[in-house]
């Protein structure tokens, strides 16, 4: 197992290096000079070249990249160009918010997708299957940000109820803290559940046509045993893969949902940084997201051995 993890980490190094270069280079391609923008907005009264030299933006790109990579290796992601706060500290403060939103969304997603997907596969081409598939495609089709807007506005119009403004800290009010995540996580989870349900249905349909499932039916086993023990146990791996891929997409979703619900997570932080051309924040946030995605992929691979005893590393 340890050997496999080491091998996977070694294989991931070239991809991580390429990703780190994309992370580093992309914000620098954004049109407009951040230094000019800072001088205009903050009325710093210094000259452009001085500020550029102070920020290290006057050196060649390759040198900036190598220096940045060296600092990243030492755990230094730099300071925000605007707030002057250390990026690592800001990310450490905001990551738990995004993780909480993402994990809750995954819980909702799995709780909806697996039972509905199994039902749709077992009752293929019946009314239940058509309703489940149509609902899943509807879940994939309706924009989450639209549902979120409606969920905020319509109850306010009809019943005068709206979600509490401001972020509630866990230590101050644990229930209030959890409650503020329920709506965005549920909306985010429903879209994710739709894809997961489709994959569950498709994989289970394929497995249910295998000879060993036919044998299980012939032995007179009950439907629950055939579907769950023989069918689902063999259909779960692609479902786990899709779930792993969804972690990355959920990070994308947090950008929109944190903006709408005012949750101070990574998504909102990154969105503000892109709008303000705050290089160190864009780089730091993207790098952390890439690291989380790579770690999730590794975790998913290790999870295969847990759900399928035939796989050994």
């Amino acid at each position: 197992m340890c050997g496999y993890v080491l091998h996977r980490l070694c294989v991931a190094i070239p991809s991580l290096l390429i990703a780190s270069f994309i992370v580093f280079a992309l914000p620098r391609l954004i049109p407009g000079d951040v230094v000019q923008l800072m001088l205009e907005e903050q009325a710093a009264g210094r000259n452009l070249d001085d500020l550029r030299a102070q920020l290290g933006l006057d050196r060649p790109l390759a040198i900036q990249y190598v220096e940045w990579l060296g600092r990243v290796a030492r755990g230094d992601l730099g300071e925000s160009l605007w707030t002057k706060r250390p990026v690592l500290g800001e990310l450490a403060r905001r990551l738990p918010v995004s993780l909480e939103l993402g994990l809750l969304a995954i819980c909702f997603s799995v709780a909806i997708a697996l039972p509905v997907g199994i039902l749709a596969a077992v009752r293929q081409d019946t009314a239940a299957d058509y309703v489940a598939r149509s609902a899943a495609i509807l879940g994939l089709s309706v924009p989450g940000y639209w549902v979120a807007t409606l969920v905020i506005v319509l109850p306010a119009i009809w019943w005068g109820w709206s979600p509490a403004p401001g972020f509630v800290d866990f230590r101050a009010n644990p229930w209030g803290h959890l409650a503020q995540f329920v709506l965005p996580a549920l909306i985010l989870g429903v879209a994710s559940a739709a894809a997961l349900m489709r994959m569950t249905r498709a994989m289970l349909l394929e497995v249910l046509r295998q000879d060993y499932v036919r044998t299980a039916w012939s032995k007179g086993l009950r439907e629950r045993a055939v579907v769950l023990r023989h069918g689902m146990a063999n259909a779960i791996i692609p479902v786990v893969t899709i779930l792993g891929l969804h972690v990355a997409q959920l990070f994308g979703g947090t950008v929109i949902f944190e903006t709408i619900f005012g949750l101070p997570g990574m998504g909102l932080f990154l969105f503000d940084a892109i709008s303000q051309r705050d290089y160190p924040v864009i780089q730091g946030a993207n790098l952390l997201i890439v690291a989380v995605v790579v770690a999730t992929n590794l975790l998913v691979d290790l999870l295969y051995a847990v759900v399928d005893p035939r796989i050994r590393y």
Binding site: A12, P14, S15, L16, I18, A19, I22, L26, P27, L29, I30, P31, A121, V122, Q124, D125, Y130, R133, I137, L138, L140, S141, V142, P143, Y145, W146, T149, L150, V153, A156, I157, R198, A202, E206, V207, L208, R209, V213, R214, W217, S218, E223, V226, G231, A248, Q249, L250, F251, G252, G253, V255, I256, F271, R277, I282, N286, I289, V290, V293, V294
Partner: protein, 288 residues
């Protein structure tokens, strides 16, 4: 690939939900093509004394805060969604096909390098990489197509590469090689036609995702700039600000996005069932 009327009829009978999706897609394409003739007003025409009017016989979907007809803007918005959807998918599929087919066919060092780049590209969440690309390119319809096409190509190329690897292992490819066919001829005559099914499925399903992504970009202010109407753009800014007084301003564009994506997803789903041979055949029920 020829599609006969009989085949379309058979598809409609076997896959009624897919046929309904196809009908929605055709309707939206017609709406986009003939927006000038269908819409009663110009997309940025302000109607005097008709500010934030609720839906009525004159204004089917009401009017917005500037007195513009929402139905007109929804009709013109279909143009943005359709051009961005088809454009991004066309670009993304072309890129993915070139990357996937060459990577699977050439193999060796080239495959390793290309796959590591694809790995790196796929480590970024889709919306985040698209947002970053849009920040570089700036707002605009063509830039949205470019960003969505490039961002979507990596994932699709993986599927096409897998299909290519499976196809080149077949005896007919070996036979073609033994007969002295060149690489280009093998790719064009033997590999591409046999990986066409996953490409068509990916493209059809990708259309819905592209429309959804375009609307999300416009919602965040990185998509098609005003005053040209895009469904996502209509949901942000004034659509959200005035939602308490005029909820129809955000209700209809959202419904239009949902309907369009629903149509493409339904069609894609049905096409996959028809074109993927693994999903054909007997059902998985108990032996009776």
């Amino acid at each position: 690939m020829r599609v006969s009327a009989a085949a379309v009829g058979r598809f409609c009978r076997r896959k009624p939900l897919g046929a309904a999706g196809g009908l929605i897609v055709v309707g939206l394409v017609l709406l986009a093509l003939f927006a000038d003739r269908i819409a009663p007003y110009d997309f940025d025409e302000t109607i005097a004394g008709a500010r934030m009017r609720p839906p009525s016989a004159r204004f089917w979907m009401g009017t917005d805060n500037l007195g513009r007809d929402v139905w007109t803007r929804v009709v013109f918005g279909a143009r943005v969604s359709m051009t961005v959807g088809f454009g991004a998918v066309l670009l993304g599929t072309a890129l993915a096909t070139v990357i996937g087919v060459t990577s699977g066919y050439v193999a060796g060092g080239y495959d390793t390098v290309v796959q590591r780049i694809v790995d790196a590209w796929q480590s970024f969440p889709f919306l985040i990489i698209v947002l970053s690309l849009m920040a570089v390119l700036g707002p605009g319809r063509l830039n949205v197509i470019l960003a969505l096409g490039v961002a979507g190509a990596a994932g699709a190329s993986r599927v096409i590469r897998s299909a290519t690897v499976a196809v080149i292992g077949n005896p007919y490819v070996e036979g073609a090689r033994a007969l002295g066919c060149g690489h280009l001829r093998i790719l064009a005559r033997h590999v591409l036609p046999n990986v066409a099914a996953p490409i068509i499925i990916l493209a059809t399903i990708g259309l819905g995702s592209a429309i959804l992504a375009e609307s999300a970009l416009s919602f965040l202010g990185f998509g098609v700039p005003p005053p040209y109407p895009s469904w996502g753009g209509m949901l942000s800014g004034s659509g959200r600000s005035y939602m308490y007084q005029a909820p129809w301003m955000a209700l209809w564009p959202g419904a239009a996005i949902s309907l369009a994506v629903y149509g493409f997803n339904m069609l894609g789903d049905a096409l996959r069932d028809v074109l993927d041979p693994r999903l054909r055949g007997t059902t998985g029920g108990p032996i009776r």
